[in-house]
Subunit: 355 residues, 2 copies
C-alpha cells in the first residue's frame, strides 16, 4: 500500500504557531493528502503534497450545487510522546455514508486510513503537547466538474488537511448556555441531516448568530416537523440525565450519528447506568427540570469532547441545570474519554490506533 | 460607475462552440466578472477579467460549510440583433435575499446590474442566434475564509460567468414525465428552501437519480411535514390547470420564489384567467385528474422557460395529463414569454432591459 501513495517534498517548513494561540482550524501543517476522481478512471493519483491553494474552474459544481462532504477527527499526543487516533475507521465509514447520500463516489476505506495515517506520521511534530490541544484531521471531498447542469458531478477531489487546535469552546469543561431554537430548523427526515455535508452547516449559521446575539453559546435544534423533539447541537449530540438515567435523541435520520455519541453510550452503559435512545420532547425536559429531576445535560463531539450545559432557554423560559456546575456523569465521561484518547488508561474497547 | 470596474484584456479569444452542441452550462465565454469581500474593506475591486481557474485555500469555508448562493438568468438575441435581459433586477434582489438567509454580506444591487450589463456587453458576440438558445448568466457568491471554525466566513468572492446554452430539456415544449417524490424531501419551513443556495441542489440529487432510474425526467417535491402538498420541481415552479382555473403552490417559505413563476402569474391574470396561489395537496390533483378536470400541468423556470408535464407518478399511480399533449395555456404562456424575451412583441410590463 505504502508505495501507492506518491510523495512530493516540501522545500521549507512553516513555523509552528504558539500553542496558546491555536484556536480552531486557523493553522495548517506543511503537507496535505490529495486524490482525484474521474468517471472513467475512478479514484486515482493518491499523493502527499505541500499544503497549498488549489485551482478550480469557476463553474466547478461544488461552488454551485454544493456536493461536498467532510469528516473531523483528532490525533492526540500521549504523555510518552506517542500519537493516537480515536476510532478513525468510524469516521471513514461515515464519510462513505455521507458520499452515498450526496450521490458521490465511495472511497476505498483502507486507502483512506492508510493516507490519513501516513499524513499524520509525516506531520507528527505538528501534534501539540499542551493540555486540551490536538491535531485536528479534516478529510473532505468536493465536486469539481466544470459544468452548470444540476446533476451529480463526474469529477471529485478528496483531500485531507491537518490543523493543530486548542479546545473548541475555549476553556475546557466550562458549562455552556444553549438556546432551544424554535423558529429555524436544521434538517428534516428525508433530507440530508444525517450526512456530514456542507449545506447543513451553512443552513445553521443564521440561528447560531441569533443565539449568540441573545447571549447563548450554541443552538439546540428541534425536529422540523413538530418543533418539539430535541435533535442535536451545532456540532455535538446532546444527552440528558433524568432521574439517574441517561437519555439521548435516537438516530432519527435527521441528526448526525456522532462517534463521540456512540462511544459515550457504550462507556456509560459499561458503568451500569442505563442509556435510552429515543424521541425526547423539549417540554418533557422542561417538566423534568421543574420536578428537579433533570440533573445533567451535556453535549458530545470530536471538537467539543464532552461539554456540560449550564443553562437552556426553552421557549423563552430559562432552565438552570445542576446550578451551572459540572455533573458527575459529564465529568467522569470527559475524564474517561480524554484518558483513553491520550493513552493514560487502558483502552478496553480498542478505540485508539497508534500512528 | 463605468470607471469603477477595472478591465483586464484577454490575449486570445476562444473559438465559439457549434450552436447545435451547446447543451447547458458546458462552455464559458472569454471574460468573467469578479469582486472580493473582506470584513474590513467590504466589497471591493470589481473587475472584468479573463475567464480562468481561481485559487482557493483548501480550508476555504465554501468547501466545508457550504456558504454559497447563486442566480441564473439569460441574455436573449432578438431577430434584429439586439441583446435583451429579462427582469435582471429581480434576480439581483433574490441574490441578496439568499445572501441574507445564508449570513452572507449583501451586494450593491446597482453595481451588480452594472457589472452584469458590462460583462454581457463585452461578450455580446457570444449571445447565440439559433432558436431556443441564449446566453446563460450565472452570478454567484462563495465563502473563502481559510478557517475550519463553523461560523459565517469573513471573506467572500462574487463572480459572474457566462455560458451560451441550448434548451435545458433538449427539444423544446416536449411534455416531460414527473415523479412525485414521497420519500426524500428537498426543504422544510424554517430551513433554507427559499434561498438559492448550493446545498439545496446537492440535497436533491439522490431523488433526481431515483426518478431517472424509474424513467422520469424530474422530481416533484412534496412538503417535508405532511408529504402531501406540492412544492416545486428540480429547477422549476409548478402550475396546475383545474376546471379552467390555474393554481400554483403558494410561497410557503420552503420553495424558491421563481421569477418566471411571478411573470407567468401576472401574464395569465392579464388574460382574465384566475390564478390561485395556495397549498395544493397531491391527492386533490389525483382526484381532479380522475374527474377529468386536470387539463394542464406545467413548470416554469429560467432554464426551462415553460415546460408542459405529460405524466405524473403519484404514489405509484400514473396520471396522464391532456393525453400528453401541450395544453392551451402552456402553449400561449410559452409563446408570450419567449416573444417578450426575444423582443418580438411589445413588452407591456417593461420586463426586458436592452444591453
Ligand atoms: C452536526 C453535528 N452533530 C454532531 C457531531 C458530533 O459527531 P462526532 O462525535 O463524530 O464528532 C458533529 C461533528 O463533529 C456535527 O457536526
Ligand atoms: C429550485 C428552483 N425552483 C424554481 C426555479 C425557477 O426560478 P426562476 O423562474 O427564477 O428561474 C429555480 C431556478 O431556476 C430553481 O432552482
Amino acid at each position: 500500500m505504502n508505495k501507492l501513495i506518491e510523495r512530493e517534498k516540501i522545500t521549507s517548513k512553516k513555523e509552528k504557531p504558539d500553542p496558546s494561540s491555536l484556536g480552531f482550524g486557523k493553522y495548517f501543517t506543511d503537507y496535505m493528502f490529495v486524490m482525484d476522481y474521474e468517471e472513467e478512471k475512478g479514484w486515482h493519483h493518491p499523493r502527499l503534497t505541500p499544503y497549498a491553494p488549489i485551482m478550480l474552474d469557476p463553474s466547478s459544481s461544488v461552488f454551485h450545487y454544493g456536493q461536498a462532504v467532510f469528516e473531523g477527527l483528532k490525533a492526540y499526543r500521549t504523555e510518552d510522546g506517542r500519537v493516537l487516533l480515536f476510532r478513525p475507521e468510524q469516521n471513514i465509514k461515515r464519510l462513505n455514508r455521507s458520499c452515498q447520500r450526496m450521490s458521490m463516489p465511495p472511497l476505498d476505506e483502507e486507502l483512506v486510513l492508510e493516507a490519513l495515517t501516513q499524513l499524520v506520521e509525516l506531520e507528527k511534530e505538528w501534534v501539540p503537547r499542551e493540555k486540551g490541544t490536538s491535531l485536528y484531521i479534516r478529510p473532505f471531498v468536493i465536486a469539481t466538474e466544470p459544468s452548470l447542469g444540476v446533476k451529480a458531478s463526474k469529477n471529485y477531489t478528496f483531500m485531507i488537511v491537518l490543523s493543530p487546535v486548542g479546545s473548541y469552546y475555549g476553556d475546557q469543561l466550562q458549562p455552556i448556555n444553549i438556546y432551544v431554537e424554535d423558529e429555524f430548523v436544521r434538517a428534516v427526515n428525508g433530507g440530508v441531516g444525517n450526512a456530514k455535508t456542507s449545506g447543513n452547516y451553512a443552513a445553521s449559521l443564521q440561528a447560531q448568530q441569533k443565539a449568540n446575539e441573545l447571549g447563548y453559546d450554541q443552538v439546540l435544534w428541534l425536529d422540523a416537523i413538530e418543533k418539539k423533539y430535541a435533535e442535536e447541537v451545532g456540532s455535538m449530540n446532546i444527552f440528558f440525565v433524568i432521574n439517574g438515567e441517561v437519555v439521548t435523541p435516537a438516530l432519527s435520520g435527521s441528526i448526525l450519528s456522532g462517534i463521540t455519541r456512540a462511544s459515550a453510550i457504550e462507556l456509560i452503559r459499561s458503568w451500569g447506568i442505563p442509556v435510552r435512545e429515543e424521541r425526547i420532547s423539549i417540554d418533557d425536559i422542561y417538566a423534568a427540570s421543574a420536578r428537579g429531576e433533570l440533573t445533567e445535560v451535556f453535549g458530545t463531539g470530536t471538537a467539543a469532547v464532552v461539554t456540560p450545559v449550564g443553562e437552556l432557554n426553552i421557549h423563552g423560559r430559562t432552565v438552570i441545570v445542576n446550578d451551572r456546575e459540572i455533573g458527575e456523569i459529564s465529568k467522569k465521561l470527559y475524564q474517561t474519554i480524554t484518558d483513553i484518547q491520550l493513552g493514560k488508561v487502558k483502552d478496553p474497547f480498542r478505540w485508539t490506533v497508534e500512528v
